[in-house]
Amino acid sequence: MTVAPVLRPEFDAELRAGLAVVGGMFPPTITDDLIDFMRVSYASPPMDDVLRDRGIAREEHVAPGHLGDPIEVSVLRPPGQNGPRPAVVYAHSGGLMFGDRFSGIDLVLDWVDRMGAILVTVEYRLAPEFPDPYPREDMYAALEWTAAHADALDIRTDRLVVAGASAGGGLAAGMALAARDRGGPPLVGQVLDYPMLDDRGITTSMHQFDGVGVWDRVSNQTGWRALLGDACGSESVSPYAAPSRAENLHGLPPAFIDVGAAEVFRDEAIAYADALWKAGGDAELHVWSGAFHACDIFAPHTAVGQSMIKTRNTWLETILAD
């Protein structure tokens, strides 16, 4: 009974170098006892200087979340906005347990100052204190609120997109499903960056990266269990929480999906794109060689990081820009 080595694609050299720094604030394996640490380490830095330098205006709103509870929503506007603009409702990363509405936002700010979109970024409530359905229903409520207040917010309802990264990518896919099923706001696109789609953790890639990179199988289990508790992996999990479970993917907005070849979410992202195509949908899928999870957030200076950002922005630009 010899221990077979785990076969896995290697990290890109520039990204491997980045991990020497990233690992200090985002350990590969996150267990329950690290949630408090991650809430400190992954908290976004103060944004005001960044926004001012880029000429982006910030408005704070309180919107009704799940069950009507108040949640915070930031509306970020492009410089010199005059008249209604396209908008993106954004769900941040952080494994459903940590992060805030400005986590990893730097990349998304390009959509505001370079494409002229309005970004609506949402402080959805976090597990385990607020388990399912709080996070997804907070997001959906924010989407409804955005559409309902489009006039006051100066937003074009004919160019509304949902987007998110990692846990937020799963929430964005869930919003698109819910909007379709509930007759919600019409969407023109969904951007799913390395999305967290499946609580079952059954793919090959989920088991290839234990203890390395960013966000491994154990971290993923920690996140899903925080959200779903004992229901995790059972038949009762809603497709709005774990979109991989959706049986019908017909009639969804065009999807942009990107994922690293060297990360746990590779196979579920590929499977989701494939399922969209099989349902007659429109999906653009990019699998980035040597990329660890969310490497464009942690190491945007690398060739891989830049390719990811540029490719995503190009896709969104075709949908959003005037």
Partner: protein, 351 residues
């Protein structure tokens, strides 16, 4: 990455950001990335533009912290540039230099020279400590490295090894560096071998056997095995001395060597009592003593030992049984070692 370095410093004020910069460039050199990638990393780490100029043929490159190549390459080489062998690199810092600027620029300059084939040592980018602990380095070069590190030729030292994200409660003084290994970059420190030395408290850390400088490569390998035997928080630190010559044999055994006893031992994983029982047996002279150590009834221990005996094919209390079991147990622990994969910050020191 400058912002990430800032976060690390806030989370753990004792963290050495310089070592992370070194480890980052080590990986870039090992990965043989191009000048653009090296400048991108430097700019990202520093949070300002990094520049490069070569005299012949004339070529300039400037990259911003986002990794974007700037079009304007007409700026003259600033007086603060590090220049060697016709290659210059610099950081375009506005205002006073920041604490990490010097180490970033030093590592960038070295990496660029290696990429361009101009480094004095060719593709051997390793530094004194790395050369000293490499058995394949000729002994005169190792002794020269020891001299450069200020080590006395006949004094005894130990290597201490730790992952990059070790938590130091007490950091020993001595030459230190990041050394690339098959297990990834390892933080290595050379400390004088003094009995009862209490200057070190870290988790996880492996402490090698004491040797003179010319044999420190051996101390390094035993320290690596010791490190991999750590299992924090239960076992935060392991001294190679605890295992005498056994750890040296393990250090020098090829990774893929056949270890049938350890293979069979792995089947004990199915039993919840496996590791604790083996520990108790190894530290006991009799079944009765093992039962007491493990806190179980004598007959329970006897049943477990019968299971072990059947599985392994030998009685651990008979003849070479004990050293065989001990060796198999250490190999099994090394195979299962996660200590280098789990550089998790500890709750008590960081939240």
């Amino acid at each position: 990455m400058q912002e990430l370095l800032g976060r690390i410093a806030r989370l753990d004020p004792s963290a050495s950001l310089g070592l992370r910069v070194i480890a980052c460039f080590d990986e870039l050199v090992v990965g043989n990335v191009n000048t653009r990638a090296l400048l991108s990393a430097a700019a990202s780490l520093a949070g300002c533009v990094a520049g490069f100029h070569q005299d012949q043929p004339v070529r300039s490159l400037r990259v911003n912290p986002r990794g974007e190549v700037l079009r304007d390459t007409t700026a003259p080489v600033p007086p603060t540039a590090t220049t060697a062998a016709g290659l210059s690199v610099w950081l375009e810092r506005v205002g006073d230099a920041l604490p990490n600027d010097a180490i970033i620029l030093e590592r960038l300059a070295l990496a660029v020279r290696i990429r361009h084939g101009r480094s004095r040592t060719g593709f051997d980018h390793r530094r004194d400590l790395g050369r000293l602990v490499d058995m394949d380095t000729p002994v005169d070069e190792r002794m020269a490295a020891a001299g450069a590190l200020g080590l006395g030729a006949t004094r005894l030292y130990r290597l201490v090894t730790a992952p990059l994200f070790v938590v130091w409660e007490r950091h020993p003084r001595g030459p230190e560096d990041v050394v690339p290994t098959v297990h990834g970059p390892i933080h290595a420190v050379i400390v004088p071998a003094q009995p009862g030395d209490e200057t070190l408290k870290a988790s996880p850390a492996g402490i090698g056997v004491a040797t003179q400088p010319q044999d420190l490569h051996h101390s390094f390998r035993t320290a690596l095995v010791a490190l991999r035997l750590c299992d924090p928080p239960r076992v935060p630190t392991v001294h190679a001395d605890e295992y005498g010559g056994l750890i040296g044999l393990l250090a020098d055994a090829p990774a893929a060597s056949a270890q049938p006893d350890a293979d069979r031992l792995a089947e004990l994983e199915a039993h919840g009592w496996g590791a604790a029982t083996i520990e108790a047996v190894i530290h006991s002279q009799s079944v009765r003593q093992a039962a007491r150590l493990a806190g179980v009834h004598h007959s329970t221990m006897q049943t477990r030992i019968d299971t072990i005996t059947t599985l392994l094919g030998f009685d651990p209390f008979d003849g070479f049984g004990k050293p065989r079991l001990g060796t198999a147990y250490l190999v099994w622990r090394l195979r299962r070692s996660r200590v280098l994969e789990l550089p998790s910050p500890t709750k008590e020191t960081r939240t």
